[in-house]
């Protein structure tokens, strides 16, 4: 089976997650092997996911954890007067 680029784009996400049925995965892989545009789309998507998942992109505010646990303690105190 041969598929065109537009079909491959629909499979990119499932391809990254390893969630495609084997037959489809092979078809997509074959397309990627010879299509530099789809390969670049796959590579850039994967790269962007990795960058976004980096802890430095979304950081917790300084002191967040301390304040959260203080708030929990406050709740405990409410329970045990």
């Amino acid at each position: 089976m041969v598929i065109d680029c537009k079909h491959v784009w629909n499979y990119i996400s499932d391809f990254i997650d390893g969630a495609l049925p084997e037959e489809t995965r092979v078809t997509v892989q074959k397309h990627l092997d010879h299509c530099e545009i789809c390969s670049a789309i796959l590579d850039s998507t994967r790269n962007i996911i990795i960058l976004t998942a980096d802890d430095r992109v979304f950081e917790l505010p300084v002191g967040f954890s301390e304040r959260l646990h203080k708030r929990i303690d406050l709740e405990f105190m409410r329970l045990a007067p």
Partner: protein, 208 residues
């Protein structure tokens, strides 16, 4: 108290409900970040997000007896967080209505940014303010329904099933939304990051 650390989540929850409330601190610790990130994705500012994170955590403590063991604590906690955030937005009358278009177009195709090749952007690039800002803005601009799926799955590393459970949507919906979120980010970010990543011009080889 090292023996406490080794308790499984269900054991910790049972112990908390039996009166060892201090254990709640340990129970919540692994999920603090996820709670905050999901709150931030709705509230859009740090102060409100922190407030929502705190209230959701306290609410989870108060409701702990209603937690059912068939779901995971993490997904249960995230649904409470999202509820808290949505309730607060509604109260503030700030709820950004998703346009009809956004809700109806799940079937339509989204074309990616077309590139001939991709030069890998290394993680060190995150150290640069401009790169972090580009990524934050792009995620921020995603429609809510795509952003929440993307953050849970790709940033907080929930499984597809866990994301579906936390968001109370079907697994196929998670997959469709995740795909769209990733495509939108690729479309927006690939051209921008590529410019940022471009090596300095080599004056001696003008034809490059």
């Amino acid at each position: 108290m090292p023996q406490m650390m080794n308790r499984s989540e269900p054991e910790m929850i049972a112990a908390i409900l039996a009166g060892e409330i201090q254990l709640f601190h340990e129970l919540i610790r692994p999920y603090e970040r996820s709670v905050y990130i999901m709150a931030l994705s709705y509230m859009k500012n740090e102060a409100d997000a922190e407030d929502v994170a705190q209230e959701a955590t306290v609410r989870a403590f108060r409701k702990l007896s209603s937690f059912r063991a068939e779901s995971k604590f993490s997904t249960w906690l995230i649904s409470i967080t999202l509820n808290e955030a949505r309730t607060r937005l509604r109260r503030q009358v700030l709820v950004r209505m998703e346009s009809l278009e956004q809700l109806l177009d799940e079937d339509t195709r989204l074309s990616p940014a077309l590139l001939r090749d991709w030069r890998e952007i290394p993680s060190e690039a995150i150290e640069r303010d401009e790169v972090r800002k580009l990524i934050q803005q792009a995620v921020d601009q995603l429609p809510d329904m795509y952003r929440e799926v993307f953050l849970l799955r790709d940033v907080e590393e929930f499984s597809i099933n866990e994301a579906a459970e936390a968001l109370k949507i079907s697994i196929p919906s998670v997959k469709v939304r995740l795909h769209r979120a990733r495509s939108m980010l690729q479309k927006q970010l690939a051209p921008q990051l590529r410019l940022v990543n471009r090596p300095p011009k080599r004056k001696l080889l003008p034809w490059l």
